[in-house]
């Protein structure tokens, strides 16, 4: 009896909701009554898009003058809806909520829900329309300023069909400065449209205060329109604002390119450093270096999985916990490789080239057979998600920043090891004059082994850093190896600083060329540049000086 009644009612609701204005009035009621709630979710689950949008609208209007609990309920509801947590059943909606399901109408909790309860599909336009309303409702409902700030920023993306007047009124009462600022951004378009000069000036000053392409575009649009109701003062203000914004935007774009160069350079550096050290010490190019990078990444992954299983609490920090492992695993493999193969081939660098290539093939296939070819899934810690804007359009992504950070640390660490430790001393001695070092009692064999392990370990660190940027699979290294060779060649034999500079330089070159001429062209030009460079400086940036 009750069920049928509800269905009938909902049918009517849907029917009416197609007739816009009348319907929105019809819904203009307090929203604590179960039936109203039911109407809302019913439309949201199965209504036409227009109907749903109208429903959002009316919900917003109702929320404004509803009491706190009702506001809270509405805010949660629309939030869950946006995040795709609805499970539409025949006569209600459930929301997954720690192991349980919450009936949004009655507020009861259930262990299980009917099988036919399914998740409504929100297509792109609907989600676009929904987003601003959701933010608006939360803006109204939320007490805490940070929540309201979030909501306001959400609105700043687009105001959608939310009425500017409403935001205006909220803005008027807003106490919190940040939120107010965010709201100004939201209101700019409205203000510009309004004939009112003060509003327009306010809008322009707001635009002038955030240096983005969008605000530049807005100003351009504003300046283009030939409307009389724009006063001279406004126009000049707009023009000056436009030019300043434009200038900063361009600067920020340059900065972006430079940053891209930096981050790519740091990747190159990480990959090439170990190579350079080993090459410098033993004149051996280790073609398996790229695979040590891969091993490092896999070690990181295993650490992550171990943490996931044993200490989920620490999972957030797996990247740092993994550092020693990412270093040690390749280091050990490297040491073994040195002991079993490389050391038998000193004074035969060319054969070593082939031997190490074979090893790289072996490593790739071992990993392929044991772990598989699929990309490993890495958990992205909160602190690595997205990034932040420095100024204008120049924004920095955390993961890239992390790799730069790692590169910096590695550089410092390596310099320390080489110039401040006895091992480093032995290494430098051996590098400069093998026999002599041998004579003064440096065990060159052990030094070589250690250095090889050290270089391999560095590659492992590179793998750790890369795991946050690229995806990890057995062949991840192959694309890196040649670029890092070029770096070593340019940097000069075994010079850490040389490697760093070369990596940065090539990174920049890439970043500058790629946007215009594409990835291939950048690689080609870089190589040509390197060849010409070698014509001038056959021994790289920092040749090892000394008497023959």
């Amino acid at each position: 009896m009750h069920r049928q009644y509800l269905d009938m009612l909902s049918a009517i609701v849907i029917a009416c909701s197609l007739m816009f204005v009348t319907v929105s009035n019809a819904l203009a009621q307090p929203i604590l009554e179960p039936w109203d709630r039911f109407e809302i979710v019913k439309v949201w689950c199965s209504g036409e898009r227009e109907a749903r949008i109208i429903s959002f609208q009316s919900l917003l209007e109702d929320v404004v003058d509803a009491d706190a609990p009702a506001q809270q309920w509405a805010a949660n509801l629309i939030g869950e809806y946006r995040d795709g947590n609805f499970r539409c059943a025949r006569d209600t909606v459930y929301i997954p909520n720690d192991e349980q399901f919450l009936d949004v109408i009655t507020g009861d909790r259930f262990k299980a829900i009917p099988d036919d309860a399914e998740k409504p599909f929100l297509n792109i336009p609907l989600r676009r329309a929904l987003a601003p309303f959701a933010s608006a409702v939360q803006l109204v409902a939320a007490e805490a300023p940070e929540e309201r700030l979030l909501a306001a920023q959400g609105l700043a993306r687009t105001l959608g069909d939310v009425s500017p007047a409403l935001i205006e009124s909220i803005y008027r009462q807003e106490k919190d400065m940040q939120v107010a600022a965010a709201l100004e951004d939201v209101l700019v378009p409205a203000w510009l449209k309004s004939g009112d000069t003060d509003a327009q000036l306010k809008a322009i000053s707001t635009l002038a205060s955030n240096y983005t392409r969008t605000s530049r575009a807005a100003l351009d649009k504003f300046l283009d329109q030939k409307t009389e109701n724009v006063s001279e003062a406004v126009r000049t203000a707009a023009e000056s604002a436009r030019s300043s914004v434009h200038w900063v935007v361009q600067l920020s774009e340059v900065m972006t390119v430079a940053y891209h160069g930096l981050s790519y350079g740091s990747v190159l550096f990480l990959a090439a450093l170990g190579l350079a050290i080993i090459f410098g010490l033993m004149g051996v190019i280790n073609l398996a270096q790229a695979e040590f990078v891969m091993l490092g990444a896999y070690a990181t992954w295993f650490v992550q999985e171990a943490l996931r299983a044993l200490a989920p609490g620490l999972l957030e920090y797996y990247l740092f916990i993994a550092i020693p492992f990412a270093f040690l695993v390749p280091a050990l493999v490297g040491a073994f490789m040195e002991w079993s193969i490389v050391r038998h081939l000193y004074s035969r660098p060319l054969l070593t080239l082939l031997a190490t290539w074979a090893v790289s093939l072996l490593l790739i296939n071992l990993v392929r057979v044991t772990v598989g070819t699929q990309n490993l899934s890495f958990f992205t810690p909160e602190y690595l998600k997205s990034g932040f804007t420095v100024f204008g359009e120049f924004s920095i992504t955390w993961s890239r920043l992390l790799s730069i950070f790692f590169a910096g640390i590695t550089l410092i660490g390596t310099l320390f090891v080489i110039y401040r430790t006895r091992f480093g001393l032995r290494m430098r001695a051996t590098t400069q004059h093998r026999q002599m070092a041998g004579c003064v009692g440096v065990s060159t064999r052990r030094t070589d082994a250690m250095a090889f392990a050290f270089g391999s370990g560095l590659a492992g660190i590179a793998g750790l850093a890369l795991s946050t940027i690229y995806n990890v699979n057995p062949t991840m290294g192959t694309s890196l190896i040649i670029d890092s060779f070029i770096v070593v060649v340019v940097g000069g034999v075994g010079s850490v600083l040389g490697t760093a500079l070369a990596a940065l330089g090539i990174g920049q070159l890439n970043a500058i060329i790629e946007p215009q001429y594409g990835a291939v062209a950048s690689k080609v030009l870089v190589l040509l540049a390197v060849i010409l460079f070698i014509q001038q400086k056959p021994n790289g940036l920092f040749p090892r000086k000394g008497r023959r």
Binding site: L345, L350, W357, F485, V488
Partner: protein, 375 residues
């Protein structure tokens, strides 16, 4: 008779192993038409089209390996970019075959079509004539190799540097050729060839013919290079490999000697490519992949460098095993390859042609262990 054999061997004494390999190739040259065509083809000894085709490919690889050995084994420069010249030959003969199938009719292959071309661009003209194509192969490979060689040798890029640079070269060219706008079919390369010299590429006759020709050319090249390397130039090369400064102080423009050898090797590699592509019927950037170029060096290393015939043995051995394993135990192939490379490089060092180190090293290990026990 003996005179003739000496002439073949070059130098003053008879080298049996060299003659064996030479004989082997001669055998293949004669055997292919006999076993591949005619009445014997159907006999249990007979070779079917696939086997003929495979022998043909291996012959082309052997030629390539020998060209590589000329640079590595004799001048001491390990090239990890010989695929570049191989590809020059391959692509140009490919252009020839494409052009052949478009003689007399309008229109262009799809990969040119994508670039919005309605007729062949200027640099394709003339490729319908084999003579022209062949000339182009020789000239282009010589040109490219001269450029690389001259730049590299002039600035005294040596040893590992040289290897890496050659690899970087082939890598970059691969990237360029993988682009569609380059006009050579991009990543797909150029394919669907129909005929060459009027043969249909699929026909057994053609396969036997090209395989035989490959073997013949291999034989001729082997004799030629053998005479070259045992002759005065060989001495010069040994000199360059062992102590280049010394030679220069003796007044040799080693730069030109090296560049000359490098170009010669490049041209041979290009010819090998020219023989290879009609047999696999596709010329794609894979010919330029760094891995392939390294594999060439691996053949030579396994066979043994500095013998010429060593390179040939290496190429035959590795590729036969590869063909065979990728079919029967695809999983095993990479491991076997790595295993054999490591064995040869670490234990044998000079390749199969010189199993000496095997024993000496064994002895060394023995004595070493004995010493350890004493201590």
């Amino acid at each position: 008779m003996r005179q003739f054999i000496l002439w073949i061997c070059g130098g003053s004494k008879i080298d049996r192993r060299y003659l064996v390999v030479l004989g082997l190739i001669a055998l293949v040259t004669i055997g292919l038409p006999l076993l591949g065509l005619g009445s014997l083809a159907s006999s249990p000894l007979g070779l079917d089209g696939f086997q003929v085709n495979m022998v043909g490919q291996v012959m082309a690889f052997a030629l390539l390996a020998m060209a590589h050995d000329l640079v590595w084994g004799y001048a001491g420069y390990l090239s990890l970019g010989h695929g570049l010249f191989f590809a020059v030959g391959g692509y140009l003969i490919g252009m020839h075959m494409i052009k052949l199938s478009y003689v007399g009719e309008t229109g262009v292959p799809t990969f040119l079509d994508y670039m919005g071309l309605t007729e062949f661009p200027a640099y394709w003209s003339g490729f319908e004539y084999f003579g022209y194509a062949f000339l182009a192969v020789i000239v282009l490979s010589a040109l490219v190799s001269f450029l690389i060689g001259f730049l590299a040798f002039r600035s005294r890029v040596v040893g590992v540097y040289f290897s890496i640079l050659s690899q970087a070269f082939v890598y970059v060219v691969m990237l360029v050729m993988s682009r569609n706008d380059t006009g050579f079919g991009g990543n797909n390369g150029i394919a669907d060839f129909q005929t060459l010299f009027g043969f249909s590429l699929g026909s057994i006759e053609f396969r036997v013919a090209i395989a035989t020709i490959s073997a013949l050319i291999l034989m001729i090249a082997l004799i030629g290079l053998r005479r070259l390397t045992t002759g005065p130039l060989g001495k010069l090369l040994v000199g360059i490999r062992d102590d280049e400064d010394r030679l220069q102080v003796l007044g040799y423009e080693t730069l030109w000697v090296k560049t000359g050898i490098w170009c010669l090797s490049a041209m041979l590699a290009a010819i090998a490519g020219l023989l290879y592509v009609p047999q696999i019927q596709v010329a794609s950037p894979q010919l330029l992949s760094p891995i392939f170029s390294i594999e060439i060096a691996v053949w030579v290393a396994i066979g043994g460098r500095g013998y010429l015939y060593g390179a040939i043995i290496g190429a035959i051995l590795v590729n036969v095993v590869k063909f065979w394993l990728t079919r029967f135990m695809p999983e095993l192939w990479p491991f076997i390859l790595t295993g054999s490379v490591l064995f040869v490089v670490v234990v044998l060092r000079n390749g199969l042609m010189d199993p000496g180190p095997l024993f000496t090293r064994a002895k060394f290990l023995m004595s070493w262990r004995a010493k350890k026990e004493k201590v």
